[in-house]
Amino acid sequence: MIGLRAPRMSCRELVTLVTEYLEGSLAARDRRRFERHIRGCDGCTAYLEQMRDTIRLAGSLRESDVSPQARRELLAAFRDWKQS
């Protein structure tokens, strides 16, 4: 069955598939190739970790993303609407 074994994934290919992997949309065969590659590759392990760090850091913007100006205008609009 050696001839049917999926081709090895290169580092370059892994980089193009990392979002599909993290979003859970990678086909089962490619997911196995991805995981087999990453077990033996420090560079790609670091790349995947950097991608996870990026996502985590983006999530930390959630609470601090509203400008005070936008908030004031919105609350003013809300008050006007209630009075009308």
Binding site: S10, C11, R12, E13, V15, T16, V18, T19, E20, E23, S25, C41, D42, G43, C44, A46, Y47, E49, Q50, M51, D53, T54, I55, L57, A58, G59, S60, L61, R62, E63, D65, V66, S67, A70, R71, E73, L74, L75, A77, F78, W81
Partner: protein, 180 residues
């Protein structure tokens, strides 16, 4: 309710291409929501409903201003995720297209610094509007992938393409910042 304000403006930008108009659209959306909340039937989540109202209003406004971008402009140009010279050539005898300059783990204490957060914010701000909208909803607001596609009226496949480009760009900008 104001936790969505930034995202609403970002998404409206994607349709109208103008910050002031986008802020107006976001505000009109809130008013429409406040007036219509009793008609909300709970068939979709409240936030998906909110973003549908926004995208409908933004589309109408964009048509009125004749500034709507063609659909082909939505995805933008493809850029490599990582500079191609960081990989070995395809005919390398041992590791074709393997890392020539591999990434390294980022130190946790620098990652959590205020300056790094500002670098991330700048990297998101320089993305094209559609990528900004997708990463804003998916990673900043924490929407599920199908909620992002639904709220923006795009296919799940296009949502992933935009997300991939956005995340790849932001990761590269952080790497540049953390280890120049």
């Amino acid at each position: 309710m104001d936790r969505y304000e930034g995202s609403l403006v970002r998404i409206a930008m994607m349709y109208v291409g103008d910050r002031v108009v986008a802020e107006e659209v976001a505000q009109e959306t809130w008013l429409a929501v406040l007036k219509g909340i009793d008609r909300f039937e709970g068939r979709s989540s409240l936030k998906t409903w909110l973003f549908r109202i926004l995208t409908n209003r933004a589309k109408t406004r964009a048509e009125r201003e004749r500034r709507q971008l063609p659909l082909s402009a939505l995805l933008g140009d493809e850029e490599p995720e990582v500079a191609l010279d960081r990989f070995l050539p395809p005919d390398h005898p041992e590791r074709p297209l393997g890392w020539a300059a591999p990434p390294r783990a980022w130190p946790e204490e620098r990652l959590l610094s205020h300056e790094t957060t500002e670098a991330l914010r700048r990297a998101i701000a320089e993305l094209p509007p559609a990528q900004q909208a997708v990463i804003g909803l998916r990673d900043v607001e924490g929407f599920a992938p199908e909620e992002v596609a639904d709220a923006l009226g795009i296919t799940p496949g296009n949502e992933r393409v935009l997300l991939h480009r956005a995340r790849s760009h932001v990761r590269a900008a952080l790497e540049e910042y953390l280890e120049p």
